[in-house]
Amino acid sequence: MNGFPLPPVPVPGPVPQPAPAWILWGLLVFTFMLHLLAMNFVVGGSVIGAVTARLGRRGGRPHHAALVHWLTQAMPIALAATITFGVAPLLFLQVLYGRLFFTSSVLLGWFWFAVVPLVMVAYYGTYLLAFKSASLGRWGGWIRWLTILIFVTISFIFANNMSLMLRPDLFRAIYASGSTSHANLSDPTLWPRYLHFTLAAVAIGGMWVSGYGLVCRRRRPEFGQWAMRYGAHWFSGVTALNLFMGFWFLFSLPRETMARFMGPVPVATAVLGLGIFAGMATMTVMFLAAHAPRPAPLVSGGIGGLLVTVVCMVLVRDQVRRGALATMNFEPVPWVEPQWTNISLFLVLFVAGAAAVVWMVRALVMAGRPETGDGPV
């Protein structure tokens, strides 16, 4: 018994990486952004929906009820999108960083496995609310909060895995504990990372509400104006708080990783700087929208600002990962044999699938709303 002579990061197998790293990275970042936007609707929209439902219980607040109805009807679709858009980045992550990701997943063990039943329960919860909300009575509120609890738990498990995979120095000690499930609670980046992302989800949930108000302002002008301002309140208020979380996250990073953002790596410094600027500008615009008599132009600008912020922050997250990988001298798979035919086939089918989805959704939206009022769009 004499310790571990081999390094903790597994070695690549005798199978080549089937694409250049830049393609896999590009798809990882792009599909993760899609996942993030849908996931933020789910987490943020659920929180806003539950709070709004509570506020709406006081009489004379029809807009609250209308917003809750829309969020409730749209939630199963948003969750389907979250899962679907979540599959792709997980796939590309496994090719690029599977040796770290599989290891951290095994160490999390049952916690990681628990994501599957948790998603299923929450998914059925959202359908129950969407299909039976009228007959659920007070149970509806409990189910709302239960699904939120599950969503934030799932987020926490993901934050654990994504942070643990960057800490191979902890792998051995965790494995030696002999447990079949372990959380990465001792990592100083875990809590700020998790809170920063969760608050961002709530803020972006607010932006979805404002966006919805923007879309239906002509058809339902009074509700549209209200929803734009209401969402803007959520966005600007939560983002103000989240600024502190972001800086906490930044300063909790290991010194070498944090240093990347202070000049030595221009891309890292640029995306962080632009991200903070765009985030603060968007927050200001949305704060103004929350109090403006005609918020529509401001909300439009806010949505644009938010998209810039999200792109920057996803790249910042990537730079954090790159910093950690550099610190541990992580070597990419040396044998690369691109499957160009399959890559081309994928791109063609992606475009075809996206076109089919656009055609179907457009047909549904153009067909108008049924008399029952059910359905999200």
Partner: protein
């Protein structure tokens, strides 16, 4: 070895549980899509409001079952195999990431189409609604066609073993029979789900209509086509080197021999787990067909959820048994001819595509390397690095203890993907009363490389077959001689021999030649599988023989 081990008991059962549930739902997700769109078209053409209303209600059930349970258990398989078998998952991902990416494009199209189809009932023109239904079905079937290639590859990797190319692995020997078989399973399951949903209706006219339509048009085609494709599938697998006849305990490679073996197997030949799974699947499928015929002919207006629930449950058993048998046919590989269930890889055959010289990396988890260097030398997550160290202790009690601990570690590394100590495939009853010498002999003979003619060959033979110990479909022991002894000590102690490990150095290294060292040893060794509680009880084999007959 390369990855940490998730030390849950019988992890393979967890994969089986999640996979079988997913397969059951996902096949319905494909067949159900076709059922919905064809039934909707039929209802509209015949102006049948009753049938149209039924399809509409079925689509909600479909949405709730396939989008939630089906999709999430699909992701669940991925989570589970990543936890239980990261080596194999990593290998599959690197080989087939573009297959999965292509499947993902179909997945998101399918999900969107299912939603638009459901929400579009009152909104879309009939023609558009039907078009959305067709988009759903095409995407769902495309998804099946892709995943089927990866699953078939895991059993029969085709030319991939030497060419390492996506398409040579994907379009392998069992791809087509498997795809057609699965397609008809999808069709049959759609009919069964249709009967299940119709059984809740209080309208006998609707029940009769669905019983005839779904029973005759959907379930029975499955009953006719699936056995035919099963024959094709088994023949294709046999042609690709899978010893299907041997596993099923048949005395010939033809289908009649295999079928006969299934119904007459007494556990003395073949692989009992696979035989049980196959027989269970066939029996359940037969019951489904008979119950469907009974329903269509005698009870078409009067059947309830209990009857159709039983029908659905039996379908699950049939599908589960089939999947179980498929997994058993693949054993002891997780990826045929490439990786054993315990993550050990075979050395590549001569002429196989390898990494260019500038990035050439020796595979430390290849069988030849592990046998040369020792398993523990490459066990990244083990604190025990050498069995020789344990055997070198001078004091007998300390040596025995060190050997036991080392053997335990080796058991974790090489055996726990399938075996538990006392639970599922528990090892303790199998090694009860065995000495370290017996166990070393057995470990040396778990699997041997033979060619198509059954003659001894090398592990990198491109036409490799496996001769496994008593047909148990076990991988070869992947360590060196000292490790084999340490594992034998651990197993012997588990089996009740408290003196195991106290022997002198001569106890280490019992060679396979020990098999021939005498009737006593051979008889004792055979008891591994022939205990009264074992897979092949000796009593059944010797029944009616006199004491003079060995």
């Amino acid at each position: 070895m390369n990855y940490p081990i998730w030390q849950v008991p019988a992890p393979g059962l967890l994969i089986a549980l999640v996979s079988i549930l997913h397969v059951f739902i996902s096949h319905f997700a494909v067949g159900g899509g076709l059922f919905l769109v064809l039934t909707e078209r039929r209802a509209r053409q015949q102006n049948d409001a009753l049938l149209l209303d039924y399809v509409r209600r079925l689509s909600r059930f479909f949405l709730l079952l396939t989008l939630v349970f089906g999709a999430v258990t699909g992701v669940g398989i991925w989570f589970t195999i990543g936890l239980v078998h990261p080596q194999a998952t990593s290998s599959l991902i690197n080989t087939f990431v573009w297959g999965w990416a292509i499947e993902w494009t179909m997945f998101f199209t399918e999900i969107a189409a299912a939603m638009v189809y459901y929400y579009g009932w009152d909104r879309l023109p009939a023609r558009t609604h039907l078009a959305v239904g067709w988009i759903y079905f095409i995407a769902a079937w495309g998804s099946l066609a892709v995943i089927n290639g990866i699953m078939a590859y895991m059993m029969t990797p085709g030319g991939w073993l030497t060419e390492r190319s996506f398409w040579s692995g994907f379009l392998n020997e069992t791809y087509l029979p498997s795809l057609i078989m699965r397609t008809f399973v999808c069709v049959g399951l759609a009919g069964i789900y249709a009967l299940l949903t119709a059984s809740w209706s209080g309208d006998p006219r609707l029940k009769a209509k669905v019983a005839c339509y779904a029973g005759l048009g959907w379930v029975l085609p499955m009953a006719v086509v699936v056995p035919l494709t099963l024959i094709w599938y088994l023949m294709a697998a046999t042609g690709a080197g899978i010893p299907a006849a041997e596993i099923l305990g048949a005395d010939g490679t033809g289908l009649p021999a295999m079928l006969k073996a299934l119904f007459t197997a007494d556990g003395t030949t073949g692989y009992p787990a696979a035989q049980r799974a196959a027989l269970t699947s066939i029996a359940a499928a037969g019951a489904v067909i008979l119950m469907t015929l009974f329903l269509v002919t005698l009870r078409r207006q009067n059947y309830g959820p209990i009857f159709t629930g039983l029908l659905t449950g039996l379908s699950l058993v049939a599908v589960g048994g089939g999947e179980w048998m498929r997994a058993d046919l693949r054993k002891p590989y997780v990826i045929g001819g490439f990786m054993f269930v315990n993550g050990v890889r075979l050395p590549p055959p001569p002429g196989a595509i390898r990494a260019p010289a500038d990035v050439q990396v020796a595979d430390p988890y290849a069988l030849d390397v592990l046998r040369r260097d020792g398993l523990l030398a490459h066990a990244r997550w083990s604190q025990v690095q050498s069995a020789a160290e344990a055997a070198a202790h001078q004091e007998p009690a300390a040596r025995a203890e060190a050997l036991f601990r080392t053997g335990h570690e080796l058991f974790n590394l090489a055996c726990t993907k399938c075996h538990t100590t006392d639970g599922y495939l528990g090892i303790r009853p199998l090694v009860a009363g065995k000495s370290t010498t017996d166990l070393q002999t057995i470990l040396s003979n778990l699997a041997r490389p033979v060619n198509r003619e059954g003659q001894e060959t090398s592990w990198d033979d491109p036409d490799l077959r496996l001769a496994t110990w008593r047909g148990r479909r076990m991988p070869p022991f992947p360590g060196n001689q000292e490790e084999r002894y340490a594992l034998a000590v651990y197993l012997s102690r588990l089996g009740g021999d408290d003196r195991a490990g106290f022997e002198g150095p001569e106890a280490q290294g019992a060679s396979p030649a020990g098999l021939d060292s005498g009737r006593e040893l051979a008889a004792e060794t055979c008891l591994l599988g022939h205990d009264p509680e074992g897979d092949w009880p000796m009593a059944a084999m010797v029944k009616g023989r006199d004491t003079a007959t060995p």
